[in-house]
C-alpha cells in the first residue's frame, strides 16, 4: 500500500513526515511558551544597554534588538501571549458561533432568525475594522483583541455549524429520537452533537491559525496588547522601524510566526481529511460552502 493510502485510512500507524514535523514544531512552540520562565532567566523587557542591537552570542542566543532586549526571551514570552489570545479568540468564536448558534436554532425559529441576523451583520465587518472599533471603545489590552477575534470568526463557525445541523436534523435517526419522545435539547445534545463533533474539530483547526495570524496583524498595527506585553506581531512592528539596522530582530518573529501557522495548517488539513471526508464534494452553485469550509480568506 502506498504511503498516501495509509494516510487516507485515517488510523494509520505511521505518520507522514510532514505531519510529524508539524506536530513537533507546534509541540515545541507550545512547550516553549508554557516553560518560558524556566527556559530563560532573561526578561523580555529588560534592556541590556551595553549590548544594543547585537547578533547572536552566548549570552543572547538570538541576539538583542535595537533597545537591547533579548530576542529569544521576547519570542518565548511573546508565544505565550500570541497562543493564549489566539486560543481564547477561538474559544469565544465557538461559544458565539456554535454554542449560542445551536441554542438559538434549537430554541425556535425567531431566535434563530434574530441571532443569524446579528451574525450576518458581524460578518460584513472585517476583523481589522472590528479590532479598530473595539479598541477605540474598550481601550487597548488583551480583552478587546480576544473579543474582536471571537466576533470576527464566530460567523464562520456559526454558518458551518448551521449547515451541518440542518444536514443532520433531516436524518432519520433524529426523527426516530424525536418520536421516542426526546425533547429538542435532548436530541441536540445526545444525538446531533456527537455527529457534529468532526465538523467542530475541523473548524477549530481552521479558526485557530487564523486567530493567531489576525492577532499578529492587530498587534502589528499597534491595536493589540500593551507595549510591556511582547507579542510576535508587536515585535515585528517594533523592529520594522529599524529593518536596515537590525534585520535579525525582525526576521526572528517572522520566521516563528510563519513556521507556527504553516505547521498548524498542515495539522488542520490532516485533521480535516481524517474527520470530514464528505467535505470534498461541493456543488458549483454553492461556492460559499467551500469558502466557509475554510479554504478562503485569511489575513
Amino acid at each position: 500500500m502506498s504511503p498516501a493510502g495509509t494516510m487516507a485510512s485515517g488510523g494509520g500507524r505511521r505518520m507522514a513526515p510532514g505531519t510529524a514535523a508539524a506536530l513537533v514544531v507546534v509541540g515545541a512552540i507550545v512547550l516553549g511558551a508554557v516553560a518560558a520562565p524556566w527556559l530563560t532567566d532573561l526578561s523580555p523587557l529588560d534592556q541590556d544597554l551595553g549590548g544594543l542591537n547585537r547578533g547572536p552570542s552566548a549570552e543572547h542566543l538570538l541576539g538583542t534588538d535595537v533597545l537591547g532586549r533579548d530576542i529569544l526571551a521576547r519570542l518565548l514570552w511573546g508565544a505565550r501571549t500570541t497562543l493564549m489570545v489566539g486560543t481564547l479568540g477561538t474559544l469565544l468564536a465557538f461559544a458565539l458561533g456554535a454554542g449560542v448558534g445551536l441554542a438559538a436554532i434549537v430554541f425556535g425559529r425567531l431566535t434563530e432568525t434574530l441571532w443569524f441576523a446579528v451574525i450576518d451583520l458581524v460578518r460584513a465587518l472585517p476583523a481589522t475594522l472590528l479590532g479598530v472599533l473595539l479598541i477605540v471603545a474598550l481601550g487597548s489590552g488583551m480583552a478587546p483583541v480576544v473579543i474582536a477575534l471571537g466576533l470576527s470568526y464566530a460567523p464562520l463557525v456559526a454558518l458551518v455549524v448551521r449547515t451541518a445541523h440542518a444536514r443532520e436534523a433531516a436524518r432519520d435517526y433524529v426523527a426516530a429520537a424525536a418520536s421516542f419522545g426526546g425533547g429538542r435539547l435532548h436530541v441536540l445534545v445526545h444525538h446531533i452533537l456527537p455527529n457534529l463533533a468532526g465538523t467542530l474539530v475541523t473548524q477549530a483547526a481552521i479558526v485557530l491559525p487564523r486567530c493567531i495570524v489576525t492577532e499578529s496583524v492587530l498587534s502589528f498595527l499597534g491595536l493589540g496588547s500593551s507595549p510591556d506585553e511582547p507579542t510576535w506581531g508587536r515585535m515585528i512592528a517594533d523592529a520594522s522601524r529599524f529593518i536596515e539596522k537590525a534585520p535579525h530582530a525582525i526576521l526572528a518573529p517572522i520566521v516563528a510566526l510563519v513556521v507556527l501557522t504553516t505547521a498548524l495548517s498542515i495539522l488542520g488539513g490532516r485533521l480535516r481529511r481524517a474527520l470530514d471526508p464528505t467535505r470534498a464534494a461541493v456543488a458549483p452553485a454553492e461556492p460559499s460552502a467551500a469558502i466557509l469550509a475554510g479554504e478562503g480568506a485569511l489575513s
Binding site: 465587518l125 472599533l133 502589528f220 491595536l223 504553516t262 461556492p287 479554504e295 480568506a297
Partner: protein, 303 residues
C-alpha cells in the same frame, strides 16, 4: 419580475446592513472611556472649564442618539465633521487619502484575480501537474504567510540586499504581495470549480459533438463558472481591507488605512468614524452588488 424580486430584496438587505453597521460603529466610538478632549487636556493642560467648553463646542455633551442623527444627516451630505487634531474637514482628508488606497486595492485585486484565473484555466486546459503543484504552493503560501510578513521580507530582500526599488512609498511591492495572497486564497476553489465544470454532462456532450475547445470553454463552461468567479471576486475585495491596511503602514503609504490608524492612536474620533464608515459601507455595497448580480445570473441561488 420574478427574477428581479430577489435582486431588490438583496439590495434592501444591503441597505439595512450598511445602516446597522454605521450605527454600531458610531455607538462604539462614543462609549469609550475618555474622549478627544481628555487626550488634548492631558497633552495641552486644559483646565476643566476649558474642557467643558470644548465639549459643548463639539456637541459631545448632548445625548448620543441626537449626536448620531445629526452626524448621519451630515455624513449623507458628505460632511464628516472636522478632525479634532488637525482642525481640517474629515471629508477633505478622506478624499486626499482615497486615491492611494484605491490604487493599492484595485491593483492587487487585478493581480490576484488575473493570477488565480489564469493559473486555474491553464491548469485545467493543459491538465498540468506542475501547474497544480504551483496552485497548491500558492494556496499554502496565502494561508501560512501573512501579508505583512511577506512585506517585511520583501523590503529586506529587494531594498536592502538587492537595492532595487525605493521600496518605501512605492506601490509595486505591496500590490504584488497582496495580489499573490488574494490569488492563493481563491485559486484552489477556482481550479476545483473548473475541474467540476468540464466534467458536467452538457460539456461532455459538447466535446462528443466535436466542438472546438474554445467554443466549449466560452459557450459551455464559462456560464457555469461565472457565478463562482463573481462570488470569489467579492470575497477578494472584502479581504483586501486587512492587506491594504498593513501594507500602508509598513510601506508608509498615506492611504485611508494610515489615516484611520493614526486617528485611532490620537483618539481623533471623527476621523476614525468616517474612515470606518466609508470602508464598511464600500464593502457592504460591493457584497450587496455581488449578491444581487449572483441572484440575477444564477437562478439556482434563490431556488
Amino acid at each position: 419580475m420574478r427574477r428581479l424580486l430577489p435582486v431588490v430584496t438583496a439590495l434592501a438587505a444591503g441597505l439595512a446592513r450598511a445602516l446597522a453597521i454605521v450605527a454600531v460603529a458610531f455607538f462604539l466610538c462614543r462609549v469609550m472611556p475618555g474622549d478627544v478632549v481628555d487626550v488634548l487636556g492631558l497633552e495641552g493642560g486644559l483646565t476643566d472649564a476649558q474642557q467643558a467648553e470644548l465639549r459643548a463646542a463639539l456637541g459631545l455633551d448632548r445625548p448620543v442618539i441626537a449626536q448620531f442623527v445629526d452626524w448621519g444627516a451630515q455624513a449623507l451630505g458628505g460632511d464628516f465633521g472636522r478632525s479634532v487634531r488637525f482642525d481640517r474637514p474629515v471629508a477633505e482628508m478622506l478624499v486626499h487619502a482615497a486615491p492611494v488606497t484605491l490604487e493599492l486595492a484595485l491593483g492587487s485585486f487585478g493581480v490576484g484575480i488575473g493570477l488565480a484565473f489564469g493559473l486555474a484555466i491553464a491548469a485545467t486546459s493543459l491538465r498540468s501537474r506542475v501547474l497544480d503543484a504551483v496552485i497548491d504552493a500558492l494556496n499554502v503560501w496565502s494561508i501560512a504567510v501573512p501579508t505583512f510578513c511577506a512585506g517585511v521580507v520583501g523590503i529586506i530582500v529587494f531594498s536592502l540586499w538587492l537595492g532595487w526599488l525605493p521600496v518605501i512609498g512605492s506601490l509595486v511591492l505591496p500590490i504584488l504581495i497582496i495580489g499573490l495572497d488574494n490569488a492563493g486564497q481563491i485559486v484552489k476553489l477556482v481550479r476545483e470549480d473548473l475541474a467540476e465544470a468540464v466534467m458536467l454532462p452538457h460539456v461532455r456532450t459538447a466535446r462528443a459533438k466535436g466542438l472546438s475547445p474554445w467554443r466549449i470553454a466560452l459557450v459551455h463552461v464559462l456560464p457555469v463558472a461565472a457565478p463562482i468567479a463573481l462570488v470569489l471576486s467579492g470575497l477578494v475585495l472584502s479581504g483586501l481591507v486587512a492587506g491594504t491596511l498593513t501594507m500602508e503602514i509598513l510601506f508608509g503609504l498615506p492611504g485611508i488605512g494610515s489615516l484611520m490608524l493614526n486617528a485611532v492612536h490620537g483618539r481623533d474620533l471623527p476621523v476614525v468614524l468616517a474612515a470606518v464608515t466609508v470602508v464598511a459601507v464600500a464593502l457592504v455595497a460591493i457584497n450587496t452588488l455581488v449578491d444581487a448580480l449572483h441572484r440575477l445570473i444564477d437562478p439556482r441561488v434563490t431556488r
